[in-house]
Structures are given as structure tokens and as C-alpha cells.
Chain length 100, copies 3
Amino acid sequence: MNTHNLTLLVIIAEALLKDRLIHSIRDAGAKGFTITEAAGEGSRQRRVGELLGDNIKIEVIVNREIAERILVVLQQDYFPHFAVIAYLSEVQVVREEKYV
Amino acid sequence: MNTHNLTLLVIIAEALLKDRLIHSIRDAGAKGFTITEAAGEGSRQRRVGELLGDNIKIEVIVNREIAERILVVLQQDYFPHFAVIAYLSEVQVVREEKYV
Amino acid sequence: MNTHNLTLLVIIAEALLKDRLIHSIRDAGAKGFTITEAAGEGSRQRRVGELLGDNIKIEVIVNREIAERILVVLQQDYFPHFAVIAYLSEVQVVREEKYV
């Protein structure tokens, strides 16, 4: 099976930011995304999402360039104002053309 | 802590495919799986799952051989007909015998 | 973009263990976590969570040392008694100070 290395970007944020984040992600060049409901607590020790659905987890598979572009937007427009978590990992996909 | 490298296979698909996908996964030799509800948009720009629960995310931890076997089945029986996403990544587990 | 390598620890368990697991995770030094509802079947072939919400998936980003500390607790206090899955993978974060 022929697979291709791409980057999985995971963003966890307040559910209220959903539409705004989707717009930022699309704008940076991502072709698709997956959203799940989440709850959690962050490093500020206050609850960033006590109930399931207070937070969302957005997963995007992109190339490294688009992932970094999204991180720059997060750093400029989201991190200073909101409790947002973002991390990258390496994944292997088939049908690379679906993502980049 | 002694850990073992295995492969995490993530499949995102329409919720309607759940039973069929579980059967394919079991059939290929996976011992277990985890399912979460998801929503998302795909590369065709049409919404593949507007509401949470329209899509499911199935996670399977297997060895590389079983992961590739599942990918072959996805490529033959699912990709031509359905909006299915699949990707692999490397994970480390304890208690390897639970998975393979 | 300057990123730092950290460890993503994923734990899947019965929802009833939620508070106890959160306590164990905090106790080991994790600063935050994310929870999603899940369902699944395990290697014992019995259903460990037939309905969505029967299981939870807890995700924690920590350094390797804290991840291993949590694994030791799981191995001592959880694995012998409960159907618990745990795996590690490598992720890259910005703002490392949020996690360790």
C-alpha cells in the first residue's frame, strides 16, 4: 500500500469559536476537517469546558506548510484571547490528493 | 516502562457505515476498536456530516500488516463509493498482546 | 514556527472511571486534559461500551516522564481491574509551557 506523509493538526477550543476556526482553517488552504465534541481542563486550572460540548476538537490533515500557516493564525488571533490547544503529529494517508 | 510500537488506524466515515466497517475491521484481524461521533466537511466541498453524529470516527490499534489489510479493503470496497478518510500513525502501547 | 516535541497519552476507559482517572492524571503532574465520549469493543470480545458515552477517551499532553508516571499508575491500579486502553504518540506543540 502506497502511503504519503502528511501532518495532522489538532485544535481544541471553546465551541463558540467553531465557525471562526473553520473559516481560518479553510482560509489557510485546508480541504476538509473533522469535529468532535469535547470537554476538558486547561493549564490555568479553571475549567475550560466542564460539560461535553463546551469544547470542540477540530482535526485537519494538511501538508506541513498549511499546518504552519494555521498555527501562525492561531498564534496571532486566538492564543492571546482564548484557551486554545494546538498540536501537530505525523500521519500517513492514502489518496494524498484529497488533502493537499 | 516497556512499550511496543504499533499502528493507529483512524477511519472517518458516514455513521451509516458503522456496522459494515466494524465487520471489515474485525475480519482483517483487529481485536478491538473505539468509536466517537464526529462531524466534518470533505474535499468535495459538500458537507459529509453537518451534524454531530452524522459521521463516526473509528480508531483501531493493530500491527502494520493488519492496518494495511484494512486499507486494502477500504480502497476496494469503500473509497469508490463513500466519503471515507483513513490515516495511519505510529503509537506505543503497553500490553502489546491486547492488540495483536 | 518553533515547535516542541511532547508526548500525547490517550486513555480509553469506562466512563465511571472518569473522576478517578482525572485525579490520577493530575496527581502525576499533567496540567490539563481533553475528554470525549466514546464507545468500543475490546480484546476480550465482550463489549466494553456498547453505547456512546459508556466509554471516555482522555487525551493528555505531557513530557515523556509524566506520561510514563501515568502509565505506571495505570499498570498498578487500573489494568488488573478494568478494561483500559492506553497509548502514547509523539506530538509537536507551540507554547510548551502550557503543558509541562
